[in-house]
Every structure is written in structure tokens, then in C-alpha cells.
């Protein structure tokens, strides 16, 4: 209709080519040969100087993966991936270990500056806001810079790359790695288990409240490399940690595969807050290129009264396929999922969550906001289930979709399984465009059409935005703005 016609026109005109973070950094890299075999797995393991048990673990995953087939149930379309045509390992050559920021390749620092990763700036910002953020920057596959390590060490918090953790804290890694997402959990998790190159490891000891927000910026840089991070976060009894993950990637013609695995473990009375802002290259305006983001994220509320909260803002990637989940195993445990998924151009998003109620009196809450524009397809797919013994389970689910333009699609596919009568489940979903009444109301108050749309979209996602840590709020608002450029002014 006429009121938003202009908006629709502008959405059509969006020049996705103007991807703000599309550039390449010329740093020499060390690559493994193309393709995947047991030898490549051994090569990666050797490069990382891993102990024998880790190699065995990888090989077991690889052998399971070989016999698995790619899942096809998601509402996404893409050409078949040739897994033998990818590089599984790429590391900057001078990755031996800069001791401080000064030793880091200046070009790399320049890259981060362009990206706006506030390594130093963050410190300034932190000074202003009284908060500190530790950044474990991942450049392709190897952790390059880790800041604030000392301060964390003082609190007893271990925050390092997973390869370092394998060497320094094998007992923790052996105990928890794969305990939430087993090697053969699914096709991409098995692939990740075999070839993961790096990622973050966090252990917060009993009773410790992590003194700062932990943050990792991922960056895919080398051509034709799939990046396979592995993140493992453990909050011991009574601990608290908030973890931030943000991503940008440079422009690329070939599709790039990203298959990460994130495992969270919360023991008795512990709380983990995991926030993601994902802004990888979504492909150009013809839908060419862009990142395939096939991620397995799962949290295990293993202890009583534990809590895991996922907050995600998905604006990038050609295809996003992920379901951050909570296994509510401990009695009285709590899972939360807050999500904003913005899709534009030819992006495809199939995302949602799983809340699996196993313990007594477990609660979960799902708030999902999807915004589809251009030619994109935006699907919420979620599962809420209560086991027979999960008496007193409670769930509230709200997923709303907003459509901008008549060539996009918004879909909702919830699965709700109540296996006992004391489980109280509520689910509601709505799909609509911005109502004429709302727009008219805004306009008669003197707002322009674009301002009105911006106001409504901001209001639409506000419930989720407010769940983000302070550091991400501003960035996120900016990202949603960029993603919907032209449609929300």
C-alpha cells in the first residue's frame, strides 16, 4: 500500500555491495592442503601441538563424520558444498606469539581499527563506563591477541584460546569438551570436532563473579577457508560470566562455510550470559557469495538453580542455520533466548532455539523477533519440550515477525511437546507488516515516514535489545540500521 511504498522501493534499492566491512588484509598465511582426510586432521593437531588424546578425539569425530550425511530439513537453499574443496587450516605466519599489542602486525591492528574492534578504544570506553572488556581476537583461526589476562587470572578466571587450554588445562578440557555437544551430535558438529582450529575457553571457578565482560571478535580472512571455532565455557558452582561474541567478515565471492560449536556448562547456582552479534558478509545484491553460518550452540544447565541466557543479533551471513539451546537438567534451572534476526537481500535465516526441560520446576523464556526485507527468507524454528519427570516446567514463547517488502518470507515452525500435565506452556506468534494505523499515528505527530518506520522497528526489537550488554547496544542498533539501510532511514 501507499504509506510504505517508498520504504519498499528503498529496500529494493539497497546496495548490499556497500557491505561496510568488505575488505581484505594482505598477511601471509600458512595453509594446509585443500580437502579433508585423516592426514589433514593429524596435520592440524600436530600444528597445534596437541597431546595424543586430543588427536584421538578428533580422529574419532572424523570417522563418525565420514559416515554422516548432510541435514536437509532446514528451510534454506544453497548449492551442495564440496567438503574436499576447502582449506581446513589457515594461520597467520607470525602466529608464534606477540607478547603485547605493540608486537602485533600493524596491518592486523589496522584491520581491527577498520572493523571498529575497540582493542585500545575499549579501554577508554571502559574507563568512561566503569566496565572492562577483555578481547580474545581471533584472526582466521589463531588467537592473536589476548588482553586483560592478568586481571582475569587474579580472579582465578581462565580465559584463553582453546588450543592453549588443551595444553595448559587438559583436565578441564577432557572433562567438559564434547559433554554438551558430542562429537557425532550432527553433521556439522562432527566436522567441527574433527578440524576445529581455535576458539575460546573460559572457566570461572566456584563462587567467582567474572570481573568483566569477556569478548571475542571473530574474523574470517583467508580465501576459501572454513572457520571452525570451538568455544567451551564452564561456570562452576555459584559463578557468573557474561560472554560477548561479535563477528564481521570481509567481502568474498566464493561461499564460505562457518561451522562453529559452542558449549556452555553451568553448574549449581551458576549463570552464563552469552551474547552474539553476527554480521558476516551476506552476499552481494544478486545473492552471490556470503557466509554459510551453520552453528551448533548448546548450553547445559547441569546444576540446580543454574541459568543460561542466549542473546543473539543476526544481521549477516548468506545463510544462518543455528539453534542456541538450553538443556534444563538441574532442578529450578532457567533458560532464556532473546533473538533479533534481520534478513535482507537474498539472505536466508533458519534460526531459533530448543528448550529441553528435564529437571523439576525449570523455566524458560523465548523472545524472538524476525525482520525480513528484500528477497530474504526468515524462519523461526524452535522446540520446547518437557520430560515426564519435569514437573512444574514453565515456558513462555513469543515470536514475532515483521515483513518489509512483498518478495520476502517470514515463517514460524515451533514444536511444543508437553509430556506431563504440570508443565505450563504458552506459545504465541504473530506476523504482520507495520500497521497503517501506527504509521499514521506517528506521521500525524510530525515524523517523516522513514523516521516512523525506524521508530516502529526499534520498538519492535526493543525487548531483545535491552537484554544485550551495554557495550553491544550501540553497535547493534548501528548494525540493524546498516542491514535495513534504505528501509529505516
Amino acid at each position: 500500500m501507499a504509506a510504505v511504498q517508498e520504504t519498499i522501493d528503498q529496500v529494493r534499492k539497497i546496495d548490499v555491495d556497500q557491505y561496510k566491512y568488505g575488505f581484505e588484509t594482505n598477511i601471509e598465511t600458512v595453509k594446509a592442503p585443500k580437502g579433508l582426510s585423516e592426514d589433514i586432521v593429524r596435520f592440524i593437531s600436530e600444528k597445534k601441538g596437541e597431546p595424543q588424546w586430543m588427536l584421538e578425539w578428533r580422529l574419532e569425530a572424523y570417522r563418525r563424520w565420514v559416515n554422516m550425511t548432510e541435514p536437509t530439513w532446514a528451510k534454506v537453499n544453497y548449492p551442495k558444498i564440496d567438503f574436499q574443496d576447502l582449506y581446513y587450516y589457515a594461520a597467520p605466519k607470525n602466529a608464534e606469539g606477540p607478547k603485547s599489542l605493540d608486537e602485533v602486525d600493524p596491518e592486523l591492528l589496522a584491520t581491527y581499527a577498520k572493523l571498529g574492534i575497540p582493542l585500545r578504544e575499549q579501554e577508554v570506553l571502559a574507563g568512561v563506563q566503569g566496565a572492562k572488556v577483555a578481547v580474545d581476537a581471533v584472526f582466521d583461526s589463531v588467537s592473536v591477541v589476548t588482553t586483560f589476562k592478568d586481571e582475569l587470572a587474579k580472579a582465578g578466571v581462565i580465559f584463553c584460546s582453546i588450543s592453549e587450554a588443551v595444553r595448559e588445562h587438559p583436565e578441564l578440557v577432557q572433562k567438559y569438551l564434547g559433554s554438551v555437544v558430542p562429537q557425532a551430535d550432527n553433521f556439522y558438529a562432527a566436522l567441527n570436532s574433527a578440524v576445529f582450529t581455535d576458539g575460546s575457553f573460559v572457566y570461572v571457578p566456584e563462587g567467582v563473579r567474572c570481573p568483566m565482560e569477556l569478548s571475542t571478535y571473530f574474523r574470517i580472512n583467508e580465501k576459501q577457508t572454513g572457520q571452525f571455532e570451538r568455544t567451551l565455557i564452564i561456570a562452576d558452582k555459584g559463578a557468573y560470566v557474561s560472554y560477548l561474541e561479535g563477528c564481521t567478515a570481509p567481502m568474498r565471492d566464493e561461499h564460505q562455510l562457518h561451522a562453529a560449536v559452542v558449549e556452555l556448562i553451568a553448574l549449581d547456582d551458576a549463570e552464563i550470559k552469552y551474547s552474539t552479534v553476527q554480521n558476516w558478509y551476506p552476499g552481494d545484491k544478486q545473492g552471490k557469495g556470503g557466509i554459510y553460518n551453520f552453528v551448533t550452540k548448546r548450553g547445559d544447565c547441569r546444576g540446580r538453580n543454574s541459568k543460561i541466557s542466549w542473546t543473539q543479533v543476526e544481521t549477516g551471513s548468506a545463510i544462518t542455520w543455528k539453534y542456541p539451546s538450553c538443556i534444563l537438567r538441574g532442578d529450578n534451572s532457567c533458560g532464556e533466548f532473546y533473538s533479533i534476526a534481520v534478513s535482507n537481500g537474498w539472505q536466508q535465516v533458519d534460526s531459533g532455539t530448543k528448550m529441553i526441560h528435564l529437571g523439576k520446576n525449570t523455566t524458560s523464556r523465548i523472545i524472538s523477533k524476525g525482520i525480513a526485507a528484500g528477497f530474504s527468507q526468515n524462519t523461526y524454528r524452535g522446540l520446547v519440550s518437557a520430560h515426564r519427570k519435569a514437573t512444574g516446567a514453565r515456558n513462555f514463547t513469543n515470536c514475532d515477525s515483521l515483513l518489509i517488502g512483498d518478495r520476502c518470507g517470514a515463517h514460524t515452525v515451533p514444536y511444543i511437546e508437553a509430556k506431563n500435565s504440570t508443565a505450563h506452556f504458552e506459545h504465541e506468534a504473530t506476523t504482520s507488516k507495520i500497521s497503517d494505523d501506527t504509521l499514521f499515528y506517528c506521521r500525524q505527530r510530525g515524523l517523516s515516514e522513514e523516521e516512523a518506520v525506524a521508530l516502529v522497528v526499534n520498538g519492535f526489537v526493543r525487548d531483545v535489545l535491552q537484554k544485550l550488554p551495554m557495550e553491544f547496544m550501540a553497535e547493534t542498533q548501528k548494525l540493524i540500521g546498516i542491514s535495513l539501510e534504505g528501509s529505516v532511514g
Binding site: 500500500m1 515483513l403 512483498d406 515451533p414 511437546e417 508437553a418 508443565a423 506452556f425 506459545h427 504473530t430
Partner: protein
């Protein structure tokens, strides 16, 4: 994979029985060809199981381990009084009655008035008399839905109801499918309902059994509905077969422009029931209202699966389903609303609510929205919970005994769905039946 080629005993029996049955099935050469084709589809599909997304929560292959022989039609016909007795409240309103016993038309038990407004005949007669085979026997989804394919292959009989244009039927058409055979058998029926332009009618399908009928049975029923331009059809189904059998129903509904279609399903006392509704909007500015209530206890399993396809702009859909589960019963609700790219101004709302009275029952819900148009308002909701103790307490504080308070609350819960039936006499009959079932269940519980 080789595993997929393996056929279960029931699948084999269903495919092989056709050769010996083909001669007895009504229809000429064209019908036989169509039946064989449908059987081929079934052969390729097999019985649906939990790995088939649409059947995720109802594993038919597992539930139907044995295929039962087709009804022979040898059971002696009941008297008129017996039919009225098993119909109970459904016999209390005046109706054009058409009765089928074990999937065969029983003209003597039917009460048809030929008044020009409505013509009722039997499918078998229509097929034998050279009726349009494609119209009568073909069915959308035969290639992808094994149950629909089986229906096309094996349908013996059913009601063909034609309502003329621009008439308003003062009495509902009551189609009674009566189970009489003392042996465990399979009946396969196909009904056709066509309502002409700007007409108004109510059609009630009742599935009931005679006291002597076997506990185990299979019933596969399919009704094809075509609602003409500006017509209004109220379509009710009462599934009260009282037994441990399997009841599979498909309603395929096509709506012309400005049509109004209201469907209501009451399901109680059926071992495994699956009611599937496929609604296709073919003309603009049409409205549908689908509602229903199911009461399941012991190990019963009731599945309601809807697909509402908004293929054209400016249509309205409403769905409200309410279920009461007790003991080990399992309820399933799958509601898919598709809004096609050009179906602007679509307005769709859906709600499924279930009361779980026992800690061991299970409710699986999958409300689904698939939307490709932007100027739409669509929403769905799903809730499941046990009886609100606060409400029970409120009633008791007003002096109502516990059992009565619970009964009152359950009745009012399902009542919300029954109220959707517009015709008062039919609505009252349905409410009486629901009340009867709930009371019987409560009384048996007290006795136990």
C-alpha cells in the same frame, strides 16, 4: 537405503489385497485405472511414520501393525430404532438422513426428501452410473499422502451431496457411518459435498457403532468439499466410534470467492484418530472458521492436522481447537497456515489449547506459519496446562463440591469451541455428547 524398500506386514497386506478386491469395488474401467494408480502411490509411500514430518507425532506404521480385511457388508442391518438409539443426541434435530452401514449405503435406514434443493445419492451408484470419475474418486495429495491414496484405491461408497444454487436448507444433512460388523474390519468411504452459489447448508457426518460391533476396526474416510461463490457451509463431524481402532479422516475443501466455510470436529472415545483438513482458498474474500474439541483418555491418541492455504488475497481464517486429555492419552495438533506471495490482506488467527488432567498424558503442538506476503496479519497460539487450581478453589469456596467444580470447569473449557457451531440444535446435541463423555469419564474414575 535398502531399509526403505522393506515393507511391513500391514503395508504388504494393503497392497496385495487389492487384486482380490478390485472386482467388487464400484466403478468402470476409468475408476479401476485411477484406483490402481492410487495404489501405486501407496506402494511407493508406504505407511507414514515419525520420520515423515507431517506424521512426526503419529506413527501410523507403528500403530497399524496389522491390516484388517475389508468389510464384507454381511452384518445384518439394524432397525431404525437402533440407529436412532446409537445416534443419541444427534437424532434429536430434524435432518435429511443418509445411512451407511460398514461402508455401504442403506437406503431403508435413510430418510431422504427429494425437494430439489438437495440431492443425495451414493458414491457407488454415481460411479456405476458413469459419474465423473476424476471428480468422484481422484483426490489432491494422493501422491504424497498414503492415507489419501488408500482411500482412492479402496473407497466402497459414501454420500454424494449436491446442494442447488441459491437455496437455504432448513434441515441439516446428516450422514451416518455406522459400524456393525462383529469382526475387526476396514471400511473406506468417500463423501462428496458440493454447495451451489449463494446457498446455505449444514452437513453433519457422524461416525458411530452398534453395540455388537467389534472393538478393533479401521476406518478411512475422505470428504471432498466444494463451496460455491458466496455460499455458506457449516460442516460438522462427530467421531464417536467407541473402540480401540484407527480412524483416519481427510477433508479436502476448496472455496470459491466470498464463500464461508465453518467446520467443527468432535472426537471422543477413539483409539487413534487423525483428522486432517486441507483448505484451499481459490477465490477472494472468503472466510473459514475451523474449530473442534477432542476428549481422549486411557491410551487414546487424537491428532488434528490442518493446512490452510491462502492462495489468493483478502481471505480470513480462524481456528480454535480445545482438547481434554486424561490417563495416558496423547493429543497432537499441527496447524499450518500458508500465505502465498500474492495473498495480500490475509487475516489468519489460530489457537490450540489443551487441558491435561493426568500427569501421564502428552500434548504435542506444532502451529506453523509460512508467509510470503507482507500485507498480512497472522498469529497463532498454543497452550497446555493442567486445571487451574485457583479456579477450582474459587468454585469450592462458593460451595461447589470438588468433582462438580472440576466438571464445570472442563465443560466450560470445551464449551468455548462448541459455541462456534452456529446452528443451535446441532450445537446443543454436540454439547450434550461432550458432557456425556466427560461425565462418563469422571464417573469411571471415581468408581476406579
Amino acid at each position: 537405503m535398502n531399509v526403505a524398500i522393506m515393507k511391513t506386514k500391514a503395508e504388504q497386506a494393503l497392497s496385495e489385497a487389492f487384486a482380490s478386491r478390485a472386482g467388487e469395488l464400484p466403478g468402470g474401467e476409468a475408476a479401476a485405472k485411477l484406483r490402481l494408480e492410487a495404489l501405486g502411490h501407496f506402494g511407493a509411500l508406504g505407511l507414514p511414520h515419525r520420520r515423515v514430518e507431517e506424521w512426526k507425532y503419529t506413527d501410523l506404521r507403528n500403530a497399524m501393525k496389522e491390516a484388517l480385511p475389508p468389510a464384507s457388508g454381511k452384518a445384518s442391518l439394524p432397525s431404525n430404532a437402533e440407529v436412532i438409539s446409537v445416534l443419541g443426541p444427534l437424532a434429536t434435530f430434524p435432518a435429511h438422513r443418509v445411512v451407511f452401514v460398514d461402508g455401504r449405503f442403506a437406503p431403508d435406514l435413510s430418510d431422504l426428501v427429494a425437494d430439489g434443493a438437495v440431492t443425495v445419492s451414493s458414491l457407488a451408484t454415481a460411479l456405476e452410473d458413469g459419474g465423473d470419475v476424476a471428480e468422484l474418486l481422484a483426490a489432491a495429495g494422493s501422491e504424497s499422502n498414503a492415507v489419501v491414496a488408500l482411500n482412492s484405491a479402496y473407497a466402497t461408497d459414501g454420500a454424494v451431496i449436491d446442494i442447488a444454487a441459491e437455496v437455504a436448507l432448513d434441515r441439516p444433512v446428516l450422514v451416518v457411518h455406522l459400524r456393525a460388523d462383529g469382526d475387526a474390519v476396514t471400511t473406506t468411504v468417500r463423501n462428496i459435498v458440493r454447495i451451489g452459489e449463494a446457498s446455505e447448508a449444514t452437513v453433519v457426518e457422524a461416525f458411530v457403532k452398534l453395540p455388537g460391533a467389534a472393538t478393533d476396526y479401521r476406518c478411512n474416510t475422505l470428504t471432498k468439499v466444494a463451496v460455491g461463490k458466496g455460499a455458506k457451509l457449516s460442516h460438522v463431524k462427530a467421531t464417536l466410534e467407541a473402540g480401540a481402532g484407527i480412524h483416519l479422516a481427510n477433508w479436502l475443501v476448496d472455496l470459491d470467492a466470498k464463500a464461508n466455510y465453518r467446520a467443527f470436529h468432535l472426537t471422543a472415545g477413539t483409539g487413534l484418530a487423525r483428522n486432517e483438513l486441507l483448505i484451499t482458498f481459490a477465490g477472494e474474500e472468503s472466510e473459514i472458521d475451523l474449530s473442534g474439541t477432542f476428549i481422549a483418555r486411557h491410551g487414546e491418541h487424537v491428532d488434528t492436522t490442518l493446512v490452510v492455504d491462502h492462495a489468493v488475497p483478502r481471505c480470513i481464517s480462524r481456528e480454535l481447537f480445545k482438547g481434554v486429555l486424561d490417563d495416558h492419552a496423547r493429543g497432537v495438533f499441527q496447524g499450518k497456515v500458508i500465505v502465498r506471495q500474492d495473498a495480500q490482506k490475509t487475516d489468519g488467527k489460530q489457537m490450540a489449547q489443551v487441558l491435561m488432567l493426568s500427569p501421564d498424558c502428552e500434548f504435542d503442538s506444532k502451529p506453523e506459519l509460512e508467509i510470503y506476503a507482507d500485507d498480512v496479519v497472522c498469529g497463532h497460539g498454543s497452550t497446555s496446562a493442567d486445571l487451574d487450581e485457583d479456579l477450582v478453589f474459587y468454585c469450592r469456596s462458593r460451595g461447589i463440591p470438588l468433582a462438580q467444580a472440576r466438571a464445570l470447569l472442563i465443560e466450560s473449557f470445551v464449551g468455548e469451541a462448541i459455541e462456534k457451531v452456529e446452528r443451535e440444535d446441532v450445537r446443543d446435541a454436540l454439547a450434550d455428547i461432550a458432557r456425556e463423555w466427560l461425565h462418563r469419564a469422571a464417573a469411571e474414575k471415581v468408581a476406579a
